[in-house]
Symmetry: C2
Subunit: 271 residues, 2 copies
Amino acid sequence: MLIDCGEGTQMQLRRFRLKYSKLDYIFISHLHGDHYLGLIGLLSSFHLARRSNPLTIFGPKGLDEIISTHFRWSNTQLTYSIDFHITTDDGLNLLVNTPQLMVYSFPLRHRLPTTGFLIKEKAGLSNLIKSKLEAEKLPVEAIKSLRKGMDYIGVDGSFYPVREYCYPQEPTRTYAYCSDTIYWPELKEYIAEVDLLYHESTFLDAEKERAELTMHSTAGQAASIAAAASVKKLILGHFSSRYKDLNPMLEEAKPIFENVELSVEGETYQL
Amino acid sequence: MLIDCGEGTQMQLRRFRLKYSKLDYIFISHLHGDHYLGLIGLLSSFHLARRSNPLTIFGPKGLDEIISTHFRWSNTQLTYSIDFHITTDDGLNLLVNTPQLMVYSFPLRHRLPTTGFLIKEKAGLSNLIKSKLEAEKLPVEAIKSLRKGMDYIGVDGSFYPVREYCYPQEPTRTYAYCSDTIYWPELKEYIAEVDLLYHESTFLDAEKERAELTMHSTAGQAASIAAAASVKKLILGHFSSRYKDLNPMLEEAKPIFENVELSVEGETYQL
């Protein structure tokens, strides 16, 4: 899954040795150039590499016209199909539902229709405790049920509770991405208690008026949202190029929300 | 002037410290992504930098629709005006005529309508030989005429030949750019005797069939065109990524056309 795709994304994917042939889903938050201008190049490279797997793209109305205009004029019949879905900024919308996870869009407040994205991991199959399995003869139905995380009661009344036959499950993880948005307190409802929040931090509080005018956030505002939403960790990004030193971003955020980091290009953030 | 604008061009311009605010003309040879996908990003950056100078763009039909589709959806009113001109691949066409130079488009043969570009420097004003001026009293009309490179004959029959009163002029220089084209012998008419020819060299002769199929040229074919057109120097480029070692390109071209070089990103080629 790839969220947003600025100019040069395909070069950066190559540089960081990420296999972009494995991409199945692309999510575009809004139609400002720094969030989507690398998309046509990436789609073209899939085509040149003779991709056959379908690709699913979620993005605002207009992105479909932009894509089709390019490929119509370059007379390109893509080697793969694009399954395009229009996103809307009217609430929490389920976009993807796989056995592993769910992806939702939710509204942001920016100069164009813009959405954030929320990824929720699903509980996987539970791991059975081997010694128990070997000691007792469990019916096949009991094993199936336990692996799905459900207690099993046999027709004979025998009872196999998950907490006794399975290892405790890893808690499921959640990630929320907020590309471009003005400070908007209601946002906290959509991202409450996520494990990791990426939030834009274009300016410092000293430029609060400019942030409001351009519908961006300051580091302090991003930290306030993170605190109000009780997220576990915050990553700041989308810094204005006026800031050569980014440490003041951290210094502004930390007193409001302690567990905060600056995003670094090419870095991996483990949940 | 910028000819073609692949994805990441604005990053490369910054990297090589070229002031892109000084750009007045952009020429796009055809609508394959590697030749124009950096254009929207560059135009957006001009906008963000509050450019006010008009920008002139020459490119094939469709590029205007692509540009307007992007800016319509991003709701952008550019801070500068774009003067867009459609190029056609039907012959030699004068695009730009300034006191310093002329730019023409000429046809190439590729999978889409494609043009090359020819830049011809104009002769500047001639420099008068000072000692002559001081020794003789030349009429003002004679001086004007001589500076334009023309002999002058006075009403009294006096004769002031350029070759006697002026330093010899620097020869005017010419550059031709051939982005993507199948081997096409007629091309030589358009690029005859240029000082510098850039010609694509996607493949080696061993892949001649593939070159024909994809409407590209080999290094040997580019050298043949250079020789047939009696150009002074040839630069090869647009190499397929399959070639990790580019020396065979030079080895293939040299026996056919001696004064040949490989293009290197960021390099300056002096005429």
